[in-house]
């Protein structure tokens, strides 16, 4: 429907251009504020303008060194990568089961996967905190990994399911004709074909783990075990907020996620349509 409706008249073109500028400004403004404050030597000056007056990397140096962000980045990376690998494997197996096999309770399993997606983290944090405390899993990064695997699974299964279903069954049969066992077929044929979908869901699992906040602040009291999302809170003190440090830390958290998102945007929207919309 694109060009027929849009740019027929000059007025339409002007309106479109204004719209694009407005969208760009609204979407990018907070990011711009974050970046410009992070590199501003006068970030904590109440009268500064939004454009940096004096460029500096001192905020980043402070955050990485005294702000201990090197430790937090390492913790977050460990937790996120472990989450990606574990939930990717579990989700791939599960999605093959629901996409390729007809079995009893298949629909019930799918409905359950949909329902658990709505469970609010606020309802889970209390029982899991009590549980983790009695199991001595508080202040343990592995405790976070286990929780994040559970959170990222429903979406990963739901999305991968669409990718697995899109692989023609004939390809599988051809593999069997050539004498492959089921597991050979799975690793040599199905896995490479589903890999793009796995990339998209991995990014989502990574971001779930990287951005998560409630569990990160509740489970970790030892500051050495903080993830980045929790670590930012250290720059808010009763004596005031070190905004330069907050924004430099925020930049370190946001930029990797952003690069990921832009890199996989095609697969992401394809996956969203395949998984969330088509059902």
């Amino acid at each position: 429907m694109s060009n027929v409706v849009g740019s027929r008249t000059a007025r339409g073109r002007v309106l479109t251009a204004v719209g694009v500028v407005a969208v760009l400004a609204f979407t990018l403004f907070p990011v711009f504020v974050m970046l410009s404050t992070a590199v501003d030597a006068r970030a904590n000056d109440g009268n500064r303008s939004l454009l940096p007056t004096q460029f500096t990397l001192a905020n980043f140096a402070f955050v990485l060194d005294e702000g201990r962000f090197l430790t937090y980045l390492r913790n977050s990376l460990l937790v996120a990568l472990a989450t990606v690998v574990i939930s990717g494997l579990i989700a791939l197996f599960a999605s093959v089961a629901v996409a390729r096999f007809k079995f009893r309770f298949r629909t019930s399993v799918l409905v359950m996967i949909l329902i658990v997606q709505m469970v609010p983290l606020e309802a889970l944090v209390i029982p899991l905190f009590v549980q983790a405390k009695s199991l001595n899993l508080l202040d343990d990064l592995f405790g976070l990994v286990v929780v994040y695997v559970a959170f990222s699974l429903p979406f990963a299964i739901w999305t991968l399911r669409g990718f697995v279903a899109a692989v023609p069954f004939e390809i599988e049969e051809a593999a069997y004709m050539d004498g492959a066992s089921w597991f050979q077929m799975f690793w040599r044929v199905l896995f490479p074909l589903v890999a793009p979908g796995l990339v998209a869901t991995s990014v989502f699992s990574f971001i779930t783990a990287w951005n998560e906040f409630i569990f990160a602040i509740t489970f970790m009291s030892d500051q050495d075990k903080y993830t980045v999302a929790a670590g930012l809170r250290r720059f808010f003190t009763q004596y005031g907020t070190n905004w330069g440090a907050v924004m430099a830390g925020s930049t370190l958290i946001t930029v990797p996620v952003m690069l990921f998102f832009v890199a996989v945007q095609r697969k992401l929207s394809a996956g969203l349509v395949a998984g969330a919309v088509k059902g």
């Binding site: 429907m1 849009g6 740019s7 969208v23 197996f93 390729r100 930012l232 924004m247 925020s250």
Partner: protein
């Protein structure tokens, strides 16, 4: 195919989901019937008090005057705004050339990628009393007195800022999904409507909306679920961590009752209420999904 194979494949997923999502749900329901405080947390003893937590909750004026309105009105307003903004942006993207659309889509992806934590800090920074850029700009226009105005202490401005944050964070999903739907619309139907003299407004309401109804239903219901349980964006704002009881919603109230006041039983009861509300919305969502086609 042997019958056990799908079960072997799906067993790990079921174990994780059962152990970390379903069992805790049972536990939170169980906790909501307990008087569970610091002592119980340390000793592991239990103290069954029946519906006392719920009784306390339902007779609490804070629930009816503050927490429920904060949760429900906020969700309704934010869903309406998120879906409207997202749809408008999708319609705009659909009429762009491939090049401009690529740039605009990337920018939207950037907004989507900003983590809730860092996004919230940016908005707090902008509206910070005295030093925030927006507050100073409004002050220099003479609209507010920046020396005495702190928008985070008042309920409406507080949730206004939160709305800006949540809509900014939430509209990209709507825009990208609706855009994907717009791309599937048959072009000849639109052309025929134009030939018949239908205005853009009529074409949207008479063709686009009916054809994309399933997509609009999905984004609306998912946004509703997300906006009802919004936590990080409220908790991280000044006063949102329970210091200002006027701005509590169900999620933050449950968390603060548990972890700031050590009343895990009461906090669980609030969490159960929130979960029940979300369950109702989800049931509705499932009915919509199943009506579309079988899964």
């Amino acid at each position: 195919m042997r019958a056990w194979r799908p079960w072997v494949l799906i067993a790990p997923a079921l174990a994780v989901l059962g152990g970390l999502l379903l069992y805790p749900l049972y536990r939170v329901a169980w906790l909501s019937f307990q008087d569970f405080g610091l002592r119980e947390l340390v000793t592991g003893e239990t103290d069954w008090i029946g519906f006392a937590n719920f009784g306390e909750l339902l007779s609490e004026p804070l629930l009816w005057e503050t927490v429920l309105p904060n949760t429900v009105v906020f969700a309704v307003v934010n869903v309406a705004l998120t879906v409207t903004v997202g749809t408008l942006v999708a319609l705009l993207l659909a009429r762009l050339g491939p090049w401009t659309r690529g740039i605009a889509t990337s920018a939207i992806m950037v907004a989507w990628a900003v983590p809730a934590v860092t996004g919230t800090y940016v908005w707090v920074f902008l509206f910070d009393a005295r030093s925030g850029a927006v507050m100073r700009a409004l002050g220099s226009l003479g609209l507010i007195d920046p020396e005495t105005t702190n928008w985070f202490t008042e309920r409406l401005p507080f949730f206004g800022i939160a709305t800006l944050n949540v809509v900014h964070h939430g509209f990209p999903f709507v825009a990208i999904t609706v855009l994907a739907g717009l791309m599937t619309l048959p072009e000849d139907v639109m052309e025929a409507a134009i030939v018949d003299g239908a205005s853009a407004w009529q074409r949207f309401w008479l063709i686009t909306v009916p054809l994309l109804k399933p997509i609009f239903a999905v984004v609306t219901i998912l946004s509703t679920i997300w906006d009802f349980k919004v936590f990080t964006q409220i908790y991280l704002m000044p006063g949102g961590d329970g210091a200002n009881r006027d701005v509590l919603n169900l999620g933050t109230w449950s968390y603060v009752s548990s972890f700031a006041q050590n009343r895990y039983g009461l906090g669980s009861a609030i969490a159960v209420m929130l979960t029940l509300v979300l369950l109702l919305i989800t049931m509705f969502y499932l009915r919509v999904l199943f009506r579309q086609d079988e899964i």
